[in-house]
């Protein structure tokens, strides 16, 4: 066990938190399990790739544009498709997002092919030494970005009128609607914001690793794990859960070998869901 391994786990956890944040937000507010979320991450990565390929800018410069573009693409799907389905049943939007995920994957494959792509950046494969521990620059950047976006999301939800409206719509959409809030529009913008967060995760994943049209599924599983561990809808919990997951993975590899890393992670996921379904980092509610 060495400090490099633990540091790598902590920093990787920042990226995991970024992956889980949008998923948790949508489920917390809309009560929608967005099975297309992973494809939104990949779409964000491809949008960034297109921007970089045409303009030559750095991925961090392309990041806000990729986030905005992905959010704008996501808005109409929620506004005109999923919101209506949410009123009909729980399963209809689930099936719809699954179909959208397949459609997105097929579309990306047709447009970009199946070969791996990576977003080029000098910090993508560079490292630095902090307190004698060697760390990857990109994961430090992703960790910082996750922190900033988690804080921004928290402030948006708790300190702004828009955030109050979102929380009201999440708590009781019917009463919120009676009080004059346009719940459909709130849902759509929440979904779009979640897509923007997904795009940020996609850009960071593209710089740190690689992406293909089919590489979304492991990201979705990571997002579910972070969401469950952190508690649904909790921003701080999501950030902590991401770090917890990253460290857990690193420790399990170090102690048991890489072959067991998924087993340890999903066993923990199962145990948390069984004994503390509200998440590790949420306060228990008492009657």
């Amino acid at each position: 066990m060495n400090a490099t391994v633990i540091a790598a786990g902590i920093l990787a956890g920042g990226l995991y938190a970024l992956i889980g944040l949008g998923l948790s937000l949508v489920f917390g507010v809309l009560k929608l399990m967005n099975l297309a979320y992973a494809q939104v991450i990949i779409i964000g990565a491809y949008v960034a790739w297109l921007i970089i390929d045409h303009t030559g800018v750095d991925p961090l410069v392309a990041l806000p544009f990729a986030m905005a573009a992905t959010a704008l693409m996501a808005y109409p799907f929620q506004r005109f498709l999923l919101t209506g389905l949410l009123r009909t049943s729980i399963t209809a939007p689930l099936v719809a997002t699954f179909g959208l995920a397949l459609l997105a994957q097929a579309g990306l494959q047709a447009a970009f092919g199946i070969d791996e792509r990576s977003l080029p950046a000098a910090y993508g494969d560079s490292g630095l030494t902090v307190l004698g521990v060697r760390i990857q620059s990109i994961y430090l950047i992703a960790f910082a970005l996750a922190g900033v976006l988690c804080l921004a999301t928290h402030l948006l939800l708790t300190q702004t009128r828009i955030g109050s409206a979102v929380r009201a719509a999440a708590a009781d959409p019917q009463t919120a609607s009676v009080l004059g809030m346009d719940v459909d529009r709130i849902y759509a913008w929440t979904f779009a914001f979640s897509a923007a967060l997904a795009a940020a995760a996609g850009v960071m994943t593209g710089v740190a690793q690689s992406f293909t049209p089919a590489s979304g599924t492991p990201l979705l599983l990571t997002g579910f794990a972070v969401m469950a561990l952190g508690g649904i809808g909790g921003v701080g919990g999501t950030f902590a859960a991401g770090i917890f997951l990253g460290v857990l993975q690193s420790l399990s590899v170090s102690l048991f070998g890489a072959g067991y890393q998924d087993l340890v992670v999903y066993l923990t996921f199962f145990l948390v869901l069984s004994f503390r379904p509200t998440g590790l980092f949420t306060r228990r509610r008492t009657a």
Binding site: F80, L81, L102, A106, R117, S118, S210, F211, Q261
Partner: protein
């Protein structure tokens, strides 16, 4: 509003399912201008002076093999430009029926049966890789000659007289690599990282076994699930143990993540080979980081193999990477082998063609192909190194081969 939403949802799902290949469609095309899908005479596989061969190959889905398909089409076109094949002393044109199995093994199985039972093909050109294995068993069962492409001989199932595999061996690849590494001035300490699917441990065993014959020892080893992105532990072990040789046998995304992490954490092996991952054209997407990575090849532009310039001039403008052209050349070779067997048999009788296939002895696109009598023929192996977005041959030293760069420039 709700009804409209439901309709839109249903439409989206239907389109998604069609796009994902859940429908029953398959495409059929032919490389012969006079081809049609009119039924051929049941027993012979000919149609008005045309001999039909077929292939079920992924043109879409998760693993399209378009360069291999182009190799098949080019071989058929070249044969037809020479008049076709000789059947009963008469020249007859070749017709290639192409079915897109959408990278679905089940669909490939159905389509092979369709080619034999409906299209009455005289012989079949296999898809690639895992599909070869399934098709070989089917070909033996259906008694149709099958010429395989791009499957290392150790992975090919035993032939029962109808399947034939002409390709390199994994053992040769390992041997050539360690011969190269032995002259690279390393300390012969090796780290092996593989995926933990069935081929990973087998490959690790092969590499460590062959490596030990050349004095190499394994000082760090990891078998990781596909999708792993954090290699800090094994990189740390490799650094501590001073390993100067890296053998990675993983899917490309895992290699991408590992190479980036190696560079960031300051681990630079003197020689690094990416089996499976650096054998695909996508490795170029790593950019300069991928330069210097060694890979095993079955064909290169500078190896002096037959028809190299013809393949490059015919397909080089479409397939610029050596790895793509390698796929086309390997497929061209498989098609040549089958066409030669049909010519030697002088008949469209499948059993006679299969017997001729098992007696293959000639020079084709991958070099000398001589049957071992068990449905296999070993072709040469080469080693290349990535440089500037393409692979250049570094072993064996031939005219045009480059000197191995030590350590890999991308990781330095």
């Amino acid at each position: 509003m709700i009804r409209r939403s439901l309709m839109i949802c249903g439409l989206a799902i239907c389109v998604a399912m069609a796009a994902a290949g859940c429908g029953s469609s398959s495409s059929s095309s032919s490389s012969n201008a006079s081809a049609s899908n009119a039924s051929a005479p049941a027993s012979s596989g000919t149609s008005g002076g045309t001999v039909t061969i077929g292939t079920t190959i992924p043109e879409s889905g998760s693993t399209p093999l378009l360069s291999e398909l182009d190799g098949y089409k080019l071989a058929v076109s070249d044969a037809n430009s020479q008049g076709g094949v000789t059947i009963g002393g008469k020249k007859e044109k070749l017709r290639l029926v192409v079915l897109d199995n959408q990278s679905d093994l089940n669909m490939a199985t159905q389509q092979l049966r369709q080619l034999v039972l409906q299209d009455n093909v005289v012989g079949v050109l296999a898809g690639c890789c895992q599909q070869n294995i399934q098709e070989a068993a089917q070909a033996d069962e259906l008694h149709v000659p099958l010429s395989m492409c791009c499957l290392p001989l150790e992975l090919a199932p035993p032939s029962r007289g109808y399947s034939f595999d002409a390709f390199q061996t994994l053992a040769d690849g390992a041997t050539e690599f360690f011969k190269l590494a032995a002259n690279a001035g390393t300390n012969k300490k090796m780290v092996i990282v593989t995926n933990n699917d069935p081929s990973g441990p087998a490959d690790a065993k092969l590499m460590s076994g062959v490596g030990s014959q050349y004095g190499f020892t394994v000082v760090a080893h990891a078998a990781v699930p596909a999708g792993t992105t954090n290699f800090a532990s094994v990189i740390s072990q490799a650094k501590s143990a001073g390993a100067q040789v890296l053998v990675a046998q993983m899917v490309p995304p895992d290699c991408f993540a590992m190479w980036k992490q190696m560079k960031a954490l300051g681990y630079t092996p003197k020689i690094a080979i990416g089996q499976q991952c650096s054998q695909t054209p996508g490795w170029a997407q790593l950019g300069p980081l991928g330069d210097g990575t060694t890979t095993i090849l079955s064909w290169t532009k500078s190896a002096g193999l037959p028809l190299t310039q013809h393949i490059i001039s015919a397909l080089g403008s479409k397939w610029k990477d050596t790895t793509d052209l390698q796929g086309a050349a390997s497929a061209y070779n498989a098609a040549q082998v089958l066409i030669a067997a049909i010519n030697r048999a002088g008949s469209t009788d499948r059993t006679k063609v299969a017997q001729a296939l098992q007696q293959t002895d000639g020079t084709f696109a991958l070099g000398k192909v001589v049957s071992n009598g068990k449905g296999q023929a070993k072709t040469p192996t080469f080693l290349g190194q990535w440089s500037g977005g393409d692979v250049v041959q570094v072993y064996p030293a031939e005219s045009g081969a480059e000197k191995l760069t030590v350590p890999p420039s991308g990781l330095s």
